[in-house]
Symmetry: C2
């Protein structure tokens, strides 16, 4: 359990947040894509509501993580930029940091577990980052990262629990609400909490009425349990097909989620796979299992969504096409 | 070889075509989706030009065929509507006719070869159409269709060689040119010729400068050979992964293509698969092999496309997800 305190600027009108998000957006906008918003009659028919899919699967490197990584790196001091950055990740944040660093001409080191898929290592290497392999445990990853910090003075970037990253993530919902200001609800998946907290910041800042809801696998429901308990719950081991959501909340994003997220909906693995297949087949877009979690949540809870205008953050589309969790019936 | 004559209204300024397309669009627009136009920096970097993807894979039933089928059925006389329609198809046109007929409340019969995939038969049956099975030869299909016409007076619909279908197809490029009037080139795949002819009609009608180019598998290059010979060439047997492009031109669409298509580019099977994989992985959209053919053509011929604004009709996205022609490297 991590101690935390409400961060200072959670005022009712959120003016501080909205300034931060607007400034962040100006900072990163030339380094990111303004992703399209898609709709689907078939999905709406099944869901009983109007869903506006914010397609961060079409973001640079294939996930919203580019927003937070770009903002974190653009927020470095001149001295920090010279010394470079380090992060540990086997997933999208590694690629986001590597690409952002490449674009901005700074040095990046990525600590990756030895069992990370070759395709992900190759993507990071393609972006010119240095890879350090370590044992596939969280302790080994953190130790290897700290070693790089100590030896080379590099700045360690956390994938979800740093305010620069969270504010960068908030720009996805900010763009969505700029396009569709009258959304009743915005829903995003929750794993490490960085996307949901950013989405909640944007919802609270740029709409008086829009609710923000999180969606989480039942088998990794630490965020749901954390909100219920009033403190961060961590599981030793979680197993879900939504591999982006196997992490836990942090002391920076948790208070934002506590203050500005109405509810977290939990879904079963079979519901995630069903929703993922439905989106692939009916919308013809490639989404990660993690992105199917909020779709499954909407299908599961018509009492919350029926008749509403719902924004949904499709978090990413980096999928191993050779290992799909479904086949065509 | 089929005889043909230039159809009368191929005048230099195309006013007749443009009226037809506008009227058609008004007729069908409430039955189709206005599909999104997507762009991709990574694809543009590889291609050396700016490509505007008209995503007919996101059209109703997953392909542009909905446009032509809807227009053909909406153009029936009252008497014809009462008696219903019949077509033979194992692919997207079957689904398009079945769905259009369902939406418009008329009776549809689809002749399908006995070896058609179960998933395609199920889709047609789901739309409420009657299925008649026949031997998997073109002669058996035509005979079975004629039998339905003779016995029940149903109107036979051709998937690509009827002016109503071609005009319906033209509305895809019409929408694209409405969004992006300054395109230098529009490119589409060519199989039966219905999409390319429609695209050429729209290009000639709504732009003074836009060229229209077709793209075709080398292994099914009957359209290329037909243009070269000045008459329609048919192959007895073609084999290409682009299953939507295994058919040949007809006497209605060929003269339109002759007059208004600048060039047909041919690509190898490996180039099609490479382009398909590139679009899936980089753009995160699901496209059929047939839709990868124009992408491969652009990659292959930088001397034609470099620096240009290119519209590209993504013809469809109905793919057997269990049988992809590529794996992730």
């Amino acid at each position: 359990m991590i101690s935390f305190s409400k961060i200072e600027y959670l005022s009712p009108r959120m003016t501080h947040f909205s300034n931060d998000i607007v400034q962040c957006y100006d900072r990163i906008k030339s380094y990111i894509h303004r992703t399209p918003v898609l709709q689907s009659r078939l999905v709406n028919e099944r869901a009983g509501c109007s869903i506006f899919f914010k397609c961060e699967n079409m973001q640079r490197m294939g996930a919203f993580k580019m927003r937070g990584a770009a903002n974190a790196i653009l927020s470095l001091s001149e001295d920090e930029r010279k010394r470079g950055v380090v992060t540990h990740s086997s997933g999208n944040f590694a690629q986001a940091v590597a690409l952002s660093a490449l674009v901005l001409g700074i040095d990046a080191t990525i600590v990756m577990p030895s069992n990370a898929p070759a395709v992900k290592k190759a993507a990071v290497a393609d972006y010119g980052a240095q890879i350090i392999e370590c044992e596939p445990t969280i302790e080994a990853r953190e130790a290897a990262t700290q070693k790089v910090v100590d030896a080379h003075g590099k700045k360690a970037l956390h994938p979800s629990n740093a305010i620069e990253v969270i504010t960068g993530n908030a720009t996805a919902a900010y763009e969505l609400l700029a396009d569709y200001p009258d959304l009743d609800i915005v829903i995003s998946p929750v794993g490490g909490g960085g996307l949901l907290a950013g989405t909640a910041m944007a919802g609270a800042s740029f709409s008086d009425t829009c609710q923000v809801i999180g969606a989480e696998p039942m088998q990794a429901d630490d965020a749901y349990q954390s909100l219920k308990a009033g403190h961060i719950i961590k599981y030793d081991k979680v197993d879900t097909i939504a591999d982006g959501l196997r992490t836990y909340l942090g002391d920076v994003n948790f208070p934002i989620i506590q203050s500005h997220v109405q509810e977290i909906i939990r879904v079963e693995e079979s519901e995630i796979i069903d929703a993922m297949k439905f989106v692939w087949e009916r919308m013809k877009i490639i989404i990660e299992a993690s992105s199917a979690v909020p779709v499954a949540a909407i299908f599961k809870k018509p009492e919350i969504f029926t008749g509403k205008k719902v924004g949904l953050i499709i978090s990413g589309g980096n999928v191993d096409l050779g290992a799909l969790p479904f086949t065509v019936s």
